[in-house]
Point group: C2
Chain length 475, copies 2
């Protein structure tokens, strides 16, 4: 039974997306232009993401801190490329109370400047290194077009900032954190990503280079899902982050930063969702199991409560729906819109046969099990299957939508028909990159450093190619 | 051995406080005027506070959300008293990129306006009520004088916002959340508080009434530590938060809000700290146990690792200090500055006697136990003792500094000699409240609603008294 309030995914993908966001009560636009509200269901997913990622960060030796949300303009300007990149979209505070400020301050669009300023006073010797910090916060970028989770003026994220004794160590950190993101996407979000290096044109303002993970949405549009930047000594020279090295000489530190954001919730919707709403991988679902007695009667509710207790004690996140104002059909639809991975249905007829029903959100399959089964084991086994099925399905779809193109016309016909990822050779010239952009705004996603060239000739100019590049239309 | 970098607590309390903050690396002033940085050790305490409180909020049916950080001026102005109260200290965003905004927006000083705006679109019937929401975020108030944790332009807090069907239910919520705070202070922070109602003069701008918990610091200065506000229908009328009630009539909802902030870290320092630094109650300490082998030798480190493993497996937060660049004395001093509740010292001589030493941070007592003891049980039992000893000591000190005064001159001589809490009768006239303020800035803390009057006459004007009031000098 498709949810009637949700537009078909294949009919109008953008509308479907907005319908899922609204019907699952994930987020709403506020009356603050371009700013969204994370409603309880949306925020609960964000909390699960935070908990899992935060654990990974701490296990690799990172510590959380909190920096101010405001950056004085002079501090922002010390590194030239960053301010150039972010000035057009900064929100400026010019008044405190009724007083005009001597110097205006912007709400952080990102915090390299603040961390650099802090780092410069925090280290004196190589013994103080590395410093590996992270903060969870929201940031502000004055975007014109906005879309819930994918692009909004304020969004929630984490930003890691580290400084190191050597370039080698900092580059390893840049790489490790990208791998952490890729692992998290695969193992928790059940989303396969492609990792690589951004081109000069697409890298972060102020970075030596930027690594990125790229995911493909159901409609073939790609989403830059996480980035990790290597800064070398750029910021440390601008902000005077110096230390006495092992040769007793002053040296500038080597720096990285890396971040993922609430945009991940958008990816979850667009990779796994279907015509009935959200589909959440068990490892990231705020509610993993919902128990629905088909009728709200003492016997059924009593049995339901026993299952609830067992599952809860086993650490499974479970809800029991005993609202007597709504029908079982309504309850089923609701648990589907919310993407709850497993539903346990307890009905009279089933019970007479000694059974209950486990219903999978991902495949809609219903599984009869004995009412005396080891419910924890059954549910855990089912959740594992759902988790791996979602990843397998997403991987298969992504692969089936990943093309190769040898010429620009071949490229164009693919993008006009069935967008997706396209692999194609590139000479390294930004002008050729711009030419590709004329095709539906396609941009280079990442340079695929470990893959062989296709033809050896640039897709655009046919001069010798330097890189195999992954291209895509982007959000 | 007193830490030489820390000024004596009885010599200069303000300097002692700053020294503890600096030496325990809790917080630093940033180059953003009036804004602090929460360093890893400070943020770790904040995380522990968040985890414990968040659990309590969720258990009582509250859900987390995230509202925008900006509030358009027109939205802010809908409720007159609130804007009047907060306008003088609002930070205003007037530009987005290079464009002047049509309407300026302030960075939230508190979010009643945003929640009210959201609530007005979120309910239609009594069946939708109550809505019990909370958010963890930072807020901005353009203060002139600042002090780490106690008062800074940006601070971190949680703000609960709820709407209800009846006044009774909303008033119960107001009360329950104050009790939640009092319980948290007692059971986690080991700080005894006094609960009561604020006077009209001291209540929150826009509230019908404000409840507050008040704690007394070591130096006799009181700290407003948490507040819970009952709004009645004030905001719901200004923001049109209406629902169809059980009589099928439109009715305005009844509203509350409540909050505690990173100021709690200041309270922890000033209630429990001593000349050697921070003293943390085990239930809120990011590191509960630190193991120090007296010499970094294989045998001692091997044994230390065994204890480490056992404690960690039991869910105790434990660190092992095997830095071979620093002496045991230095390590002891460091664990003391940081306020780690229990230190396990493993030395050769002790081991020859089949023993190890457990050192308490609160009393500095050292306890020899068999090296083959059940280390988890020993540590847990010690932590329980520390937790209850800290609360007992703080309660005893608070009680010994709580006075009564029957006349203004009696009041004045107490406050000039040994400040603390003073209980005294009050007629209810704000002019008398102002008179009391002339004595070292003393303010009414709370009305003690369930306590009997002392004399029946107002401390100031000698007219019949309405309330017994708790007074104090405040941070």
């Amino acid at each position: 039974m498709a949810n009637k309030k949700i537009t078909g995914r294949d009919i109008d993908f953008a509308k479907w997306y907005n319908d899922v966001v609204a019907n699952a009560h994930l987020s709403k636009y506020s009356n603050v232009k371009g700013c969204i509200i994370l409603e309880p269901n949306g925020y609960a997913i964000w909390e699960k993401i935070q908990q899992s990622l935060d654990k990974m960060f701490k296990e690799s030796g990172h510590k959380n801190v909190a920096m101010p949300m405001l950056i004085p303009e002079s501090l922002m300007k010390k590194e030239g490329e960053l301010i150039e990149g972010f000035a057009p979209e900064a929100a400026w505070v010019t008044m405190g109370g009724s007083k005009l400020l001597e110097e205006r301050m912007c709400i952080r669009p990102t915090s390299e400047t603040l961390f650099s300023d802090y780092f410069s006073g925090a280290i004196s010797s190589y013994r103080d290194l590395p410093l590996k910090y992270n903060q969870w916060c929201s940031v502000m970028r004055w975007e014109k077009e906005t879309r819930p989770f994918l692009r909004s003026r304020e969004f929630w994220w984490q930003e890691g900032h580290t400084i190191h004794e050597t370039a080698k160590e900092a580059e390893e950190e840049t790489n490790n954190m990208l791998n952490t993101y890729a692992t998290f996407f695969r193992d928790y979000l059940a989303i396969p990503v492609i990792s690589g290096k951004k081109t000069e044109k697409e890298k972060f303002a102020g970075a030596e280079y930027t690594l990125s993970i790229e995911a493909l949405m159901y409609n073939g549009v790609s989403l830059q899902s996480g980035t990790s930047h290597y800064f070398g000594q750029k910021f440390s020279k601008a902000y005077d982050i110096k230390f006495l090295n092992r040769n007793n000489e002053q040296e500038y530190a080597y720096q990285t930063s890396w971040g993922v954001s609430s945009r991940m919730i958008g990816a979850l919707i667009m990779v796994h969702g279907d015509d009935d709403g959200l589909v959440l991988p068990p490892k990231i679902a705020p509610t993993q199991v919902r128990i629905v007695p088909i009728k709200v009667e003492d016997e059924l509710v009593g049995i339901a409560k026993e299952y609830y207790k067992k599952l809860k004690e086993a650490g499974i996140s479970v809800e029991l729906d005993t609202d007597d104002q709504t029908s079982a059909g309504f309850k089923f639809a609701e648990s589907e819109v919310l993407g709850v991975p497993v539903r346990i249905e307890i009905g009279k007829r089933d019970l007479e046969n000694g059974q209950i029903t486990l219903s999978r959100r991902d495949t809609k399959d219903k599984l009869q099990v004995s009412k005396d089964c080891d419910i924890v084991a059954e549910v855990c086994s089912l959740m594992e299957k759902i988790q791996s099925n979602l990843l397998a399905k997403a991987t298969e779809r992504r692969d089936s939508m990943t093309y190769t193109a040898k010429t620009l016309s071949e490229f164009e016909s693919i993008m006009n028909k069935t967008p997706g990822f396209i692999k194609a050779d590139w000479c390294g010239d930004p002008n050729c990159e711009c030419k590709v952009k004329e095709i539906r705004g396609t941009k280079s996603r990442v340079i695929l450093e470990n893959e062989q060239l296709l033809t050896g000739k640039c897709l655009v100019c046919e001069k010798p190619a330097k890189h195999l590049v992954l291209w895509g239309i982007q959000y």
